[in-house]
């Protein structure tokens, strides 16, 4: 047996992944278990959950691999501090503190915490972790791999050639030239939270005109060969600034938008900020498109795998899929740093002679839903538990306008809820979008909610469904005219939708039932979590969720948990 645990953490979105004998046994994000959104600590709970899933003890692990090189990262921080002297005191004080306090000793801490010998713990490069997570989980034997994020140790964008069981690094761009840092700076400029608010920029972009591209091109210059450069004086990438940009960017674009002010997209000023979002998004798409072409040419391949935080930009992925070919692109669903744990585990397993894992066809790699004890807990909380209605009954209730949480099987790995920890509603009524937002999500009005559809029924509603992207919601697709009419709650302002195609499992059964009574086997599917919270993981979380949000119920395995004591529609 070859068992390798991959670990990412201490920066953002900590996670663990377990690979045993060439099979991805489990992959879990720490935030789901600790309930701290984007939890950046060492993922002890996630590690434990992975080991439990694989029914092995830490002492049986052949190796534990951390997803980046702590000392190389320290080198970047030190050199950046020196180069920015005497304006780098903040970085010197805070950056070194976090390095000295825990980051440098991470391998020793893992050895201590897992009670295994230090010799069985090592680290690999950040972008190698990303690349491995993308290529080895993909259905391709031969592909170019592009990893794009804020920054790893020094790398920000790396091209790889993947062939069978090997990954070869071809070329890369390094800090501070980074699409991730560019997009993060725009995110902060628009008043959103960096490392989390990037989706908001993407949603907002649909409402703007890309009329500031020329101005932004001064900050991010695209070269003819597919590379790009960040003009450093617009950005503050010292890591100590919450903003990530300098006053020069405000000189270029006008004053930043104050955080926290409610958005009004009928207001000229806010529309001008939407124009900035649209321009930044367009520039990012051009940069990603060019980098993808660069990668394909350099690797002499016609398939492409993507990972790294920037590959979470579904709209940019759509553009790449259009250029490269819809069935030739794979984006690893946990493309951000959480996915680094998966890549690290696979690298370790392959180096120990294990087989390459079979292609990833599902992101459901977390703990199973377990409703044992839920009835007693619900009783103590004054909630109601009954058997779950059958699919037909539930479909009727959803189409009547009810909103249900839906927890089935194993929890998803990655930021998207894909029918295992989802919040579901009717897509046929625009009012449901508002209802979901009012009851639970409290999102800005410009953020879209996504549709899930039966795989074989996409045609009348969506113009395409890239086979390795839509199962994971890692791209957007154009909605047809019919869909714009019939599915108003899930088609975005620009006529696209972040589609999920579903081919099997309980969620497919429910969609089928919806298709029997409604115009299409489609549901509105958003993640099951309150505003600012991680996605619900366990039955206990579900009870807390129902306590806090007046939804019509949450299906937890075979049970229906709801607020009222009256049983409705249960069979």
């Amino acid at each position: 047996m070859v068992a390798v645990l991959g670990v990412s953490g201490l920066y953002h979105d900590a996670a663990a992944a377990l690979v045993v004998d060439g099979r991805i046994v489990a992959a879990v994000q720490e935030e789901r278990l600790s309930r701290i959104k984007h939890d950046a600590s060492l993922p002890w709970r996630a590690m434990k959950a992975c080991l439990a899933e694989g029914a092995i003890a830490a002492r049986d692990l052949d190796e534990v691999i951390f997803y980046e090189q702590p000392f190389v990262k320290l080198e970047r921080i030190l050199i950046t501090t020196l180069r920015r002297f005497p304006r780098s005191f903040g970085g010197y004080l805070q950056g070194l503190k976090s390095q000295l306090r825990d980051k440098l000793w991470v391998l020793d801490r893992l050895a201590d915490g897992l009670e295994i010998s230090r010799g069985r713990i090592r680290s690999i490069d950040h972008h190698e972790s990303h690349a491995a997570s993308a290529f080895y989980a993909s259905p391709f034997r031969d592909a170019a791999v592009l990893t794009v994020d804020g920054v790893g140790e020094w790398d920000t964008t790396v091209l790889w050639r993947g062939r069978g069981e090997t990954l070869t690094r071809l070329e890369g761009l390094r800090f501070p030239h980074s699409l991730g840092l560019f997009y993060a700076a725009i995110t902060a400029y628009l008043g959103f939270e960096v490392l989390g608010g990037e989706y908001k920029v993407m949603g907002l972009a649909a409402y703007g005109r890309a009329n500031r591209v020329d101005a932004l091109s001064q900050a991010l210059r695209l070269n003819r060969d597919g590379t790009f450069e960040l003009a450093p004086h617009f950005f503050d990438a010292s890591g100590t600034s919450e903003l990530g940009f300098t006053p020069a960017l405000e000189g270029l674009l006008g004053p930043r938008r104050p955080p926290g002010r409610p958005w009004d997209l009928t207001d000229e000023t806010d529309l001008a900020y939407a124009d900035v979002a649209a321009s930044a998004q367009q520039l990012l798409e051009e940069a990603m498109g060019a980098a993808a072409r660069w990668a394909l040419e350099r690797a002499e391949c016609d398939h492409l795998c993507l990972a790294g935080g920037v590959a979470l930009n579904a709209v940019a992925n759509a553009r790449i899929a259009r250029e490269v070919g819809a069935d030739r692109v794979f984006v690893q669903p946990a493309a951000g740093d959480a996915g680094g744990a998966l890549g690290a585990a696979i690298v370790g397993a392959l180096q120990r002679g294990a087989a390459r894992p079979p292609p990833m066809t599902t992101a459901a790699l977390g703990p199973h839903v377990d409703s044992t004890g839920l009835a007693a807990l619900a009783d103590a909380l004054g909630l109601s538990v009954g058997p779950c209605p059958d699919d037909a009954t539930l479909a009727v209730q959803l189409l009547e306008g009810r909103v249900f949480g839906w927890m089935k099987g194993r929890m998803e790995f990655g930021p998207r809820a894909l029918g295992h920890r989802s919040l579901l509603a009717s897509p046929f009524d625009r009012g449901l979008r508002e209802k979901v937002n009012r009851l639970v999500k409290k999102r800005e009005p410009f953020r879209p909610l996504a549709p899930s559809v039966l795989r074989d029924a996409t045609a009348p509603w969506f113009e395409e469904a890239p086979p390795f992207l839509t199962p994971f919601m890692t791209t957007v697709v154009p909605a047809t005219a019919a869909a714009r009419q019939a599915l108003p709650a899930v088609v975005h302002h620009d006529g696209t939708a972040r589609l999920q195609t579903v081919s099997d499992g309980p969620f497919a059964g429910l969609l089928e039932a919806v298709g029997h009574i409604g115009p299409a086997p489609v549901l509105l599917n958003t993640s099951l979590n309150g505003a600012g919270e991680p996605i619900v993981a366990t039955a206990t979380d579900a009870a807390a969720f129902v306590l806090a949000h007046p939804v019509d119920g949450v299906i937890v395995g075979d049970l229906l948990l709801s607020r009222r004591r009256v049983r409705r529609g249960c069979t």
Binding site: S34, R35, I36, R76, I79, T81, L82, R83, F85, P86, F89, Y92, L93, L96, K97, W154, R174, F175, P176, G191, E193, G196, P258, P259, G260, R261, G373, A376, L377, A380, L381, G532, T538, T540, A543, A544, L547, A548
Partner: protein
């Protein structure tokens, strides 16, 4: 220790209540503490073997989450700053065990309630009734938390020793927190003193290619 703390709060509260900027900072600090309690309680809910106590901790966490939102929203209204709310959390249940955890809850909730009473009065006197009302509303919940924690603790055989331990532990925790603050200050001072020594390194780093060649 507790009364000294409250005496300081009594002195400090009228000063805070007069400045929206300082009040905003104070309320944001409370919001962070409330959010930290949410995590602590959610972990306790997972760890406890009793369904009744799990339900109590979940309900309690739900209240604290609401408090965090109330404080955070009011802080932004007072000082106009909007910052992402983040908090550190301690796994007190694991550190203390359940009886001592309950004893600590009882103590902390009581302290919070008394402290908030001072602030509520101070904000009322300063004419800021909106902020005062938030403190008053939250105090009602804190009293309920104190009562339920005490009641659950009294059902255990170790109530009296747990309360004594919680008192000692609370004092020790306060001292440790002061120690951390002191260590932070010493660290900042050392770093400030050594920062100028980076000058030759800065000269060297600027002459090298950036990013450095591999």
């Amino acid at each position: 220790m507790l009364s000294l703390h409250l005496a300081l709060v009594a002195l400090w509260a009228p000063i805070v209540a007069r400045s929206p900027r300082v009040a905003g900072r104070l309320l944001r600090g409370f919001a962070r503490a409330e959010l930290g309690s949410v995590y602590t309680l959610r972990w306790a809910a997972v760890a406890t073997p009793s369904v009744e106590r799990r339900a109590s901790y979940l309900r309690h966490a739900d209240d604290e989450a609401r408090h965090a939102r109330l404080f955070d929203t009011r802080a932004a209204a007072l000082d106009g700053r909007h910052e992402p709310l983040r908090a550190d959390a301690e796994d007190l249940f694991e550190q203390l065990g359940e009886a001592r955890f309950l004893a600590f809850l009882e103590r902390a909730e009581g302290r919070g309630r008394r402290e908030f009473a001072h602030y509520a009065r101070a904000f009322e006197r300063a004419g800021d009734t909106d902020t005062a009302r938030i403190f008053r509303a939250i105090m009602v919940d804190e009293e309920r938390h104190e009562t339920y924690a005490a009641a659950l603790l009294d059902l255990t055989p170790d109530a009296a020793p747990a309360r004594r331990h919680a008192l000692r532990w609370d004092v020790w925790r306060g001292a440790r927190r002061m120690g951390t603050r002191l260590a932070d200050a010493v660290y900042a001072l050392c770093m400030a003193l050594t920062y100028p020594l980076l000058a030759p390194g800065a000269w060297w780093a600027r002459r090298r290619a950036f990013p450095p060649e591999r």
